[in-house]
Amino acid sequence: MTERTPSPAVDLDRQLADLEQEIERLRKRSREQSVSVDAELGPLLERADHLRVQIYTNPSPWHIVQLARQSQRPRLLDFVGTLCSDVMELHGDRLYRDDPALLAALARFEGQPVVVIGHNKGKDTKENIARNFGMPYPEGYRKALRAMRLAEKFRYPVISFVDTPGAYPGDEAEERGQAEAIARNIQEMSRLRVPLVVVITGEGGSGGALAIAVGDVVLMLQYAVYTVISPEGCAAILWHDASRARDAAEALKLTAQDLQTLGVVDEVLPEPFGGAHRDPDATFAAVREALGRHLQALREVPIEILLDRRYKKYRRMGRILEQSEQSAQSSQSPRPLAGDG
C-alpha cells in the first residue's frame, strides 16, 4: 500500500488502447478504400495479443475494477435471457413507482420456477440513463423485497444478480428512505424462508449491492468487485486525492479472490481470458453450472437448518480480537477469538 507510483499494468493498458485504436483505424481504411492492410495489421495484432496476455495473466486490482465496469460486460438481461426461460417481469413496489434500475421477475431456471432480482445496468448511454446506471431508488429495493415475498409465499428460490455502482445518492432517494429500504432488505433476506443464491457479476457497490446480496450462497465472477466504498471515494476521503483510486483499489481488497479469502464469497466463478465480455457464452455456462449445483443442494436442506446456517454465516463475518476481563484491564496479550471470521 505504500507503493504510489503508477503500476506497470496501467501503462500496458494505455499501450493496448492506443494499439486498438490504430488497428481500428487501419481496418476502417481497408473497408472504405478496399485496400489490403494485412501487412501493416499483422504485427499490430500480434503486439496487441502480446499485451493482452501480459495484462490479463495477472491483472491488478485496479485493472479488475476496470473489467468489472467494462461497458461490454454481460448485463443482467444477458444473464437472465440466457439462463432462464419463461421470464415474466414484475413491476413496481406498490407504494410509489416502478424503478427501472432494478429488475424483478418470475422465471424458470432449468425448468424450475424461481424469482429473479437484479441490478439492471444498461449496455449503452441511452439505456443507462433510462435505468439510472443500475443505481436503485428505495422503491427499487422495495420492489425486490416484494418479489422475494412472492418467492417465499410460493416457495420458489431467489436468484439475485448484483451489478451496481451503489444505491442512488439523490435527494428524493433520501426522502423516501434509501437507508431504511436497504436495512429492511438486508434484515428480511437474512430470514427469508426460501433458498437465496447471489451472483455478483460486475460492480458490488456497498450497501446498494448488499441490499440484494444476502444469500445462502454468494457466487462471484472472477473479475467482479465488491466493496464498501468505491476506490475513488476511498481515495478522496483518505488522501483527499481521487486520483489515488488505484492505491485504494489495492488497499480495499475488493477482488473475488480477496473476498473468498475473507469468507465473504463462497465460490469464485472463472471468467474467460480477458474478461466475461470476451466470451460471454463461457461465462453464462459457468454461472449456469454453479447456480444449478447450488440450487439443487439448497433445495434439499430443511428450511430451519438453512436459516440457521445463513444466520451463522453472517454472524461469523469480520475479524475481532477479544481479551478476557482480566487481561482487558492490563491490556496485555490480545488473543484472536476462536473460530472468528
Binding site: T2, E174, E180, I182, A183, I186, G207, A251, I305
Partner: protein, 291 residues
C-alpha cells in the same frame, strides 16, 4: 452532568470536545456559556438548544439509573484484517483520545427501573464507524436481548461503515441486521435512537430497524453524504435536509425528542413495550435454529 459510570479499564472520559475552562463556546450560537450550566443542562445549549455531541459514556450516564450499568465485551476490539495503511495507528490514536477500546459501548442496565440491554456508539472514536468489533458488539447485544428476553435500546452516532476494514465492514450491516431480525421474530422490543450524526452504513442497518425510532433535535440523519448528493443532482440542498426534523416530516422516524426528555421518553416506551410477557409458543424458534 452525572458522573457515576466507572469502567474498569478505560475509566471516566476526558472531555476533549470542548476546550477546558470555566466557559464554553456554543458552536452554533457562539454564545459563551458557563460550563457547569451546560453540563447541568446535559450539554444542550441553554441559549439556542444546540445539542452538543456526547461520548458513549456520557450518553449511558444520562440515560441509565445510577449504578445500574453492567458492561459487556469490554475487551472486544478491532484488528487490522486488510493490513490497511495507517489503520493500527488510527485505532491507537482513537483509543488514546477517547479512552475507549472501540466505537461502541454495550451492556445492560435499567431506565427508570426497566431492565434493558443498551448500546451507545461514540462518534469521537473514528467517527463512530462500524468495523468488525462494533458490528460484533451490537450483534451480541441483540443476541443477549434475545436470550434474556429483554428490550434493546441503541443510541447511534456514526459516519457509517469503517472503510479501513473494507468489505468486512459492509458485512457488519448484514450481521447486525440479522441479529436484530431475531429480536423482532421473538416479539421483543428494539428502540433505536439516532443522535448527531447517524449516516451511511449504520442507517442502512440497525439504526433504521427499530420498532420505534427516536432522534435528537437537529441530528444529521441520512444514507448518502450531502456533498455526494449535491454533486449527483447538481443542485444545492436546503439547509434542513437530512435533519431529524426533516426525517420526521418525511415519515422516516417516529419522534424527535429533546435530550432532557429522552430518558423519560424511553422509560415511557419501555413501559408500553418492555414489560415482561409470555411469548406464544408458535414464534419460538424451532430446535434446529438453536446453536
Amino acid at each position: 452532568m452525572l458522573n457515576w459510570l466507572r469502567r474498569p479499564k478505560y475509566g471516566s472520559l476526558e472531555r476533549r470536545e470542548m476546550p477546558a475552562g470555566i466557559w464554553a463556546k456554543c458552536p452554533r450560537c457562539r454564545n459563551l456559556i458557563y460550563r457547569k450550566e451546560l453540563e447541568r443542562n446535559l450539554k444542550v445549549c441553554p441559549k439556542c438548544a444546540y445539542h452538543h455531541r456526547l461520548t458513549a459514556v456520557e450518553r449511558l450516564e444520562i440515560t441509565l439509573d445510577e449504578n445500574s450499568f453492567r458492561e459487556y465485551d469490554a475487551g472486544l476490539t478491532s484488528t487490522d484484517p486488510l493490513g490497511f495503511e495507517n489503520y493500527p495507528a488510527k485505532l491507537s490514536e482513537a483509543r488514546a483520545k477517547t479512552d475507549q477500546a472501540e466505537a461502541v459501548i454495550t451492556g445492560e442496565g435499567t431506565i427508570d427501573g426497566s431492565q434493558t440491554i443498551i448500546g451507545a456508539l461514540d462518534f469521537h472514536f473514528m467517527g463512530g464507524s462500524m468495523g468488525s468489533a462494533v458490528g460484533e458488539k451490537v450483534a451480541r447485544a441483540a443476541e443477549r436481548s434475545y436470550e434474556q428476553r429483554l428490550p434493546l435500546v441503541i443510541f447511534s452516532a456514526s459516519g457509517g461503515a469503517r472503510m479501513q476494514e473494507g468489505v468486512l465492514s459492509l458485512m457488519q450491516l448484514a450481521k447486525t441486521s440479522a441479529a436484530i431480525g431475531r429480536i423482532h421474530d421473538a416479539g421483543l422490543p428494539y428502540l433505536s435512537v439516532m443522535c448527531d450524526p447517524t449516516t451511511g452504513g449504520v442507517t442502512a442497518s440497525f439504526a433504521f430497524l427499530g420498532d420505534v425510532i427516536l432522534a435528537e433535535p437537529g441530528a444529521l440523519i441520512g444514507f448518502a453524504g450531502r456533498r455526494v448528493i449535491e454533486q449527483t443532482i447538481r443542485r444545492k440542498l436546503p439547509d434542513d435536509f437530512q435533519t431529524a426534523e426533516f426525517c420526521l416530516q418525511k415519515g422516516l422516524i417516529d419522534m424527535v425528542v429533546p435530550r432532557t426528555e429522552m430518558r423519560s421518553a424511553l422509560a415511557r416506551l419501555l413501559a408500553f413495550v418492555g414489560a415482561p410477557r409470555v411469548l406464544p409458543a408458535a414464534i419460538e424458534p424451532a430446535p434446529a435454529a438453536q446453536p
